[in-house]
C-alpha cells in the first residue's frame, strides 16, 4: 500500500513536468487541473491580496520535495507576517506580535492528500461554468465561475492559465456577486526547480515566543469520532470529512476539531473547554473570505471558522450541542491520559 502510494506520488510529479491535458469546456476538470497544479508544480510568484480595506503584496514560493508540498507565504508590504509549511509543521511568524505559532501538519504533507476532488454532488450546490477570458499578462486564460446556489457559501471567479491551469487571478464573492476578496498575480514563475533556501523563512525570530501546541497528536487521548459534540445544522452538502484534536497551548485539554466540507469550501468547528470565568459574549471575526464566530456553550467555547459567509458560521456555531449519551464527555478528566 505504501509503495503504491509512493509510486502514484512519483507519477504525479513526473506528470506535472508536461502540460496537462486540455480540459475543454468542463469546468470541474479545470478545477481539478488547478488543484493539481497548485499542489504539484514548483512556482514562485508575487500577488496582490485585496479585501475591502487593504491591498497587500505577498510572495508565495511552492516546492515539491520527495512527494511533499512545501510552501512559504510572506507579506511584503504590510504586517511582515510569514507562513512556512515544512514537511512536518506549519510555522506562522507574526512579527507584530513577536510570536511564532507552530502547528503540526494534518495532511502529513503527502501530495495525494493535497488533491481533494469535489464530490459528485457538487452541481447541486454550485453552478459551474467556463469561458474564454481576456489575456492576462500575455497568457491565454479560461475563466471559471463557481456560483453558489444558496447564500450559505461563497462563489469564485477564477482566471486559469490555459497551459498550466495556475490561477492567475481569483475573486471570492458572495451569492449575490458582491466581491469579498481579490487575489492577482503580478509576477509568476513556474519552474522546474526551486532552491530549498527559497522556502526558508526570512523573518528574524530572535526573541520571539514560540507557541507550540506542546505535545504531538499521537499522545492525545482518543475520543469517539465526533468528539462528543456536533452541530445540529450545517448547510446542505456539507459532510464531516475529518475529526481530530487541536492542542491548546498552556492547557492540558485539547479542543475538538471537526471539519466539514462541501467539496469546495471547508468549515472547522472547534470546541474548547472554557476558562474558569463565566460565559463570554459572542465574537465575530472576518478576514478576507474567512469568517469566524465564537460563542459559549455549556462552559465550552465553540468556534466555527471557514471560507463561508459570516451568517453561515454564526448559524453553525449556534447549533453545536453535546452529543446525547456519549460515554465520555469531552472535558472529563477520565478521558485524558497523562
Amino acid at each position: 500500500m505504501r509503495r503504491a502510494a509512493v509510486c502514484v506520488a512519483a507519477c504525479l510529479v513526473a506528470f506535472s513536468v508536461h502540460a496537462a491535458e486540455p480540459a475543454g469546456d468542463d469546468a470541474r476538470a479545470w478545477l481539478e487541473r488547478m488543484s493539481q497544479a497548485l499542489a504539484t508544480r514548483n512556482y514562485d510568484g508575487l500577488f496582490t491580496h485585496t479585501t475591502g480595506r487593504q491591498t497587500e503584496t505577498m510572495r508565495i514560493v511552492h516546492r515539491v520535495d520527495k512527494g511533499k508540498s512545501l510552501e512559504r507565504l510572506v507579506s511584503l508590504d504590510g504586517s511582515g507576517r510569514e507562513v512556512v509549511r515544512t514537511s512536518e509543521e506549519v510555522h506562522a511568524y507574526l512579527p507584530d506580535r513577536r510570536v511564532v505559532i507552530v502547528e503540526p501538519r494534518g495532511d502529513e504533507g503527502s501530495l495525494l492528500k493535497a488533491l481533494p476532488t469535489p464530490g459528485p454532488k457538487l452541481d447541486r450546490y454550485y453552478d459551474l461554468s467556463v469561458s474564454k477570458g481576456s489575456r492576462l499578462l500575455g497568457r491565454e486564460v479560461r475563466v471559471i465561475d463557481v456560483r453558489p446556489r444558496d447564500i450559505y457559501r461563497y462563489g469564485y471567479r477564477l482566471w486559469l492559465d490555459e497551459e498550466t491551469a495556475m490561477p492567475l487571478q481569483s475573486i471570492v464573492a458572495d451569492g449575490a456577486g458582491n466581491p469579498v476578496e481579490h487575489i492577482r498575480f503580478t509576477q509568476l514563475q513556474v519552474k522546474d526547480k526551486i532552491p530549498a533556501r527559497d522556502i526558508e523563512p526570512t523573518v528574524d525570530a530572535t526573541g520571539f515566543q514560540w507557541i507550540r501546541t506542546g505535545r504531538t497528536l499521537a499522545a492525545m487521548p482518543q475520543l469517539p469520532t465526533n468528539g462528543g459534540w456536533r452541530p445540529l445544522r450545517v448547510p446542505p452538502g456539507f459532510r464531516l470529512v475529518a475529526s481530530r484534536l487541536q492542542p491548546i497551548p498552556g492547557s492540558p485539554m485539547p479542543a475538538q476539531h471537526l471539519i466539514f466540507s462541501d467539496g469546495i469550501a471547508a468549515i472547522s468547528i472547534f470546541i474548547e473547554p472554557g476558562a474558569q470565568t463565566g460565559p463570554r459574549p459572542p465574537e465575530t471575526a472576518s478576514m478576507g473570505s474567512a469568517n469566524a464566530y465564537s460563542m459559549s456553550v455549556q462552559g465550552h467555547v465553540v468556534t466555527a471558522i471557514g471560507e463561508v459567509p459570516a451568517a453561515t458560521v454564526r448559524e453553525i456555531a449556534n447549533s453545536v450541542v453535546p452529543v446525547q449519551g456519549s460515554e465520555v464527555p469531552a472535558d472529563s478528566p477520565a478521558s485524558s491520559t497523562r
Binding site: G52, S75, D77, A92, I101, S286, M287
Partner: protein, 191 residues
C-alpha cells in the same frame, strides 16, 4: 448637428470644452462607438505629429480594455476620503454576476437577527440581512490571546482547505490584524 458634436469632441481633446457641455457629450460617447472611434483618431493624429513611428494600438484595443475591466470587478471600499480630507468619494461597488442566482434580501449594512435555518432543499426558510461582505470587524479589541487562538485555529483549519482556498485563507491570516496600522499599497507604484 453631427459636425457640432464632433467639434465638441475636438475641443474636449484639447481641454477646451466648457464643463457644462461635457456631460451631454459624455453621454453621447457612451452610446456611439463611431464617436469614440473619432476621438481615438483625433488623438492618433496628434501623436503622429508629435512622435511619429513606433507601435500603435489596434482599432479594437480600447474595447478590449473595457471588456477586461468589466470582467474583473475591483473591490473598492464602500466609502473613502482622499488624503486631503475632501468629500467622500462615491464607491464603485459592482457585482460579479449580473443575475444573482440567489434572492438575498440584503438590507444595507444591517445584521438583523432573524434565524436562518438550513434546509435540505436550496431555498432558505427565512433570510437574514448578512453583514456586508467586505467589512473587517472584531466585536471588541482582541486580546493577544484571542488573536493567537484565532490564528492557531486558522492555521489548523487551512490544512483542510483546497490548495487555492488555503492560500486565500493564509493570505488573510498574513493580512489581518486590527491592531496594525499600515500604509495601504497603491497599485501601480513599485514597492
Amino acid at each position: 448637428m453631427t459636425d457640432q458634436i464632433r467639434e465638441q469632441l475636438s475641443a474636449l481633446l484639447d481641454g477646451e470644452l466648457p464643463r457644462d457641455e461635457m456631460g451631454l457629450l459624455m453621454r453621447r460617447l457612451d452610446k456611439d462607438s463611431e464617436l469614440r472611434r473619432t476621438f481615438g483618431s483625433y488623438a492618433l493624429i496628434g501623436e503622429t505629429l508629435r512622435a511619429p513611428g513606433g507601435r500603435i494600438a489596434a482599432p479594437s484595443f480600447a474595447a478590449r480594455v473595457s471588456a477586461a475591466i468589466d470582467e474583473a470587478t475591483p473591490i473598492v471600499e464602500k466609502t473613502s476620503t482622499t488624503r486631503r480630507g475632501d468629500a467622500i468619494q462615491a464607491s464603485r461597488h459592482v457585482t460579479l454576476w449580473k443575475r444573482p442566482m440567489v434572492r438575498t434580501g440584503l438590507a444595507a449594512g444591517a445584521a438583523a437577527a432573524a434565524v436562518l435555518l438550513f434546509r435540505p432543499d436550496v431555498t432558505p426558510v427565512a433570510e437574514i440581512a448578512a453583514t456586508p461582505a467586505n467589512t473587517f470587524a472584531m466585536s471588541a479589541s482582541p486580546t493577544p490571546a484571542q488573536s493567537q487562538r484565532l490564528a492557531s485555529y486558522m492555521v489548523a483549519h487551512s490544512q483542510y482547505s483546497t490548495p487555492m482556498v488555503r492560500r486565500n485563507v493564509l493570505s488573510s491570516l498574513l493580512a489581518a490584524d486590527p491592531g496594525i496600522t499600515r500604509v495601504s499599497y497603491e497599485m501601480g507604484e513599485a514597492p
